[in-house]
Amino acid sequence: MLEIKNLHAKIDDKEILRGINLKVNAGEVHAIMGPNGSGKSTLSKILAGHPAYEKTEGEVLYQINGKYKSIDELEPSQRAKEGIFLGFQYPVEIPGVSNISFLMTAFNELCEAQGVETMKEEEFRKYLKPKLMSLDMNESFLERSVNEGFSGGEKKKNEILQMMVLNPRLSLLDETDSGLDVDALRIVAQGVNTLKSKRNATILVTHYQRLLNYIQPDFVHILYQGKIVKSGDKNLALEVEEKGYDWITKQ
């Protein structure tokens, strides 16, 4: 589904990614771990098309209609319509825009792109209801302005709600576990697990191992100074938990 070859990227003339290679197939869950400043967030942002980050070398290929294509030329909105979803580490507040109109606009844009019939508000609310319940979110969330005055946990749940609504093929979850208490973490993880299928893939970007107790990754990659320095299965994450990142970075 996704193939990253020798990816280099910079922001404000500062090189952050220095040759990333990664292949993700449908049905897989990858965890990307690493110490602060290793480039984890940059990787997810560049995949989603953040305009501040610039690719300087390498290739990002993504499967569209069965064929691998470079996504360099695609606007962030086009990437979203092709099924790439970024769950933000710091979800952004949009004052005055109700969550329901935000979700519905995003959903209907996607429907239009796929040539599926759009939904009216009443129908859309019905579609949302079970999703809200599964995330233990009150319906009053829908009337509040997007992320405005939300607690850290509420913001992250809202990201997962958006993911459920848009049902992406490739989910990039950037530090989704940060700022969550144990209960919220369990609920968020459940949400991610429910969406898991043979047709989609997930990349979890995380600093800590604890999210991986709830979402089983197929692969774990350690990112350090803009490169993947070690890959393995979920035991690698446990080892990091035990020994810290020093153990790898000193190698």
């Binding site: 989603a48 098309g49 953040h50 305009p51 501040a52 606007e75 962030p76 909105s77 990437r79 979203a80 319509k81 979803f85 970024l86 933000f88 979800p91 952004v92 507040e93 949009i94 004052p95 005055g96 825009v97 109700s98 109109s101 935000f102 606009t105 995003a106 844009e109 996607l110 792109a113 302005s145 997007v146 958006q162 848009l166």
Partner: protein, 476 residues
């Protein structure tokens, strides 16, 4: 879509109706005013009112305090009266030129019997004259008078004489004096005691003729305990010359009466380089004359090359309430200097001001407001919230609030903010599949929500669409 089509779409009301017009010679003098008054069969007192106003105007100079650049206007190079030549005009809508009916239909205001918008009575004003008013019979049943001001002068001279110029005197300002001298048409409505007007009343203004000033005059009188909602819409053809629109709207709300006035202003704003467009210099003012009266102004200002207006409320009656809700959007090289005045005279009077200014491209947007609490206004309250949003880095937003309090029991609050649409907000929405324009329009609509929700539903839908259309291509 071809580039030309795209351009044409930018202002879809830019077409010109090809009708023969009857015009007075260009220029302004006492003879023109006499001719105008004679043409309209006006009583002597009205001619006197006009001449007095004209003489006042001659002694005044063009204002300079506003924060916009107004090119010098040659008042002798304008037509002061333009009327579509037709077999018959006033009163009966059945006999208007089909060309004109078609014009209004294209503007989304069908006037023909079968197609009329239900629930709204419309007075259609084309250049200098009113073409007629829909649903008049329904209104007559409850005693509501809604007609052109010319017709009102003929049929209800006492009412017009009693209130005309009492809220905005001719001497108020340069353009008020000019309007008082040469106003050609506009709407008049009177809601009798205790009547809740069964329909929304609406005036639709259309400037068509070239080099013509539109000077309309609206007078709304809500008698004791009555209620009315009034809507105003406006468009003009796309022309390279500037056109002048200098209107006056006066509202009188007596004891326990309530008037809600909404405007969606979409005059032609000129092209990208700032060529052409309407100069919109308008004086709008209401007076809460009796106790417990209420007046609210809601405006969505999205057009005109230059907008210069301050819909205001004089809170004379005790416990009376005034409100001003405004969205002003400027793009290209548009200039807007708008705001309100709330004058507290009565006891326990309340006023609310919510102003949202959005500037894009090289435009400039000013909020100017005055909250005045007189010594007599015990326990007066005002709340002002004044927010500006900038799109891009070449536009400007300014806020000039003035607060003048002469009574120490008053509570006056003022909140202001200036924001830019952040790159993070845009990226967040874009990463949810919305293109940049959609994302901006969602953010802007959120910003304006408090104002839009005070509009009647159809108007609010129109306002949202209008803002979306205006912001197209404004986002780089």
């Amino acid at each position: 879509m071809k580039a030309e089509e795209k351009l044409a779409q930018e202002y879809k009301y830019g077409f010109v109706t090809d009708v023969e017009t009857e015009e007075f010679p260009k220029g302004l003098n006492e003879d023109i005013i006499r001719l105008l008054s004679q043409k309209k069969n006006e009583p002597e007192w009205l001619l006197e009112f006009r001449l007095k106003s004209y003489r006042k105007w001659l002694t005044m100079t063009h204002p300079t305090w506003q924060y916009c650049q107004i090119p010098p206007i040659d008042f002798q190079d304008l037509y002061y009266y333009a009327k579509p030549k037709a077999k018959k005009t006033a009163g009966s809508l059945d006999e208007i030129d089909p060309e004109l009916l078609e014009t209004f239909e294209k503007l989304g205001i069908p006037l023909g019997e079968q197609k009329r918008i239900s629930g709204i009575a419309v007075d259609a004003v084309f250049d200098s004259v009113s073409l007629g008013t829909t649903h008049q019979a329904d209104l007559e049943k409850v005693g509501v008078i809604f007609c052109s001001i010319s017709e009102a002068v003929e049929k209800y001279p006492e009412l017009v004489k009693k209130y005309l110029g009492t809220v905005v005197p001719a001497s108020d300002n340069y353009y008020a004096a000019l309007n008082s001298a040469v106003f050609s048409d506009g709407s008049f409505c009177y809601i009798p005691k205790g009547v809740t007007c069964p329909l929304d009343l609406s005036t639709y203004f259309r400037i068509n003729a070239k080099e013509t000033g539109q000077f309309e005059r609206t007078l709304i009188v809500a008698d004791e305990g009555s209620f009315v909602r009034y809507l105003e819409g406006c468009t003009a053809p796309q022309r390279d010359e500037n056109q002048l629109h200098a209107a006056i709207v006066e509202i009188v709300a007596l004891k326990d009466a309530e008037v809600k006035y909404s405007t969606v202003q979409n005059w032609y704003a000129g092209d990208k380089e700032g060529k052409g467009g309407i100069f919109n210099f308008v004086t709008k003012r209401g007076i809460c004359k009796g106790d417990n009266a209420k007046i609210s102004w809601t405006q969505v200002e999205a057009g005109s090359a230059i907008t210069w207006k301050y819909p205001s409320v004089i809170l004379k009656g005790n416990n009376s309430q005034g409100a001003f809700y405004s969205v002003a959007l400027t793009n290209h090289k548009m200039q807007a200097d708008t705001g309100t005045k709330m004058i507290h005279i009565g006891k326990n009077t309340r006023s609310t001001i919510i102003s949202k200014g959005i500037s894009a491209e090289e435009s400039q947007n000013v909020y100017r407001g005055l909250v005045q609490v007189m010594a007599s206004a015990d326990n007066a309250r005002n709340y002002t919230q004044c927010d500006s949003m900038l799109i891009g880095d070449k536009c400007r937003a300014n806020t000039f609030p003035t607060i003048d309090v002469k009574n120490n029991t008053a509570v006056v609050e003022h909140e202001a903010s200036t924001s830019k649409i952040s790159a993070d907000q845009l990226f967040y929405l874009e990463s949810r599949g919305m293109d940049k324009e959609k994302a901006v329009s969602l953010i802007v609509n959120g910003f304006c929500k408090e104002v839009f929700k005070t509009l009647p539903l159809e108007f609010s839908v129109e306002a949202v669409k209008l803002i979306e259309m205006k912001l197209e291509n404004s986002v780089g």
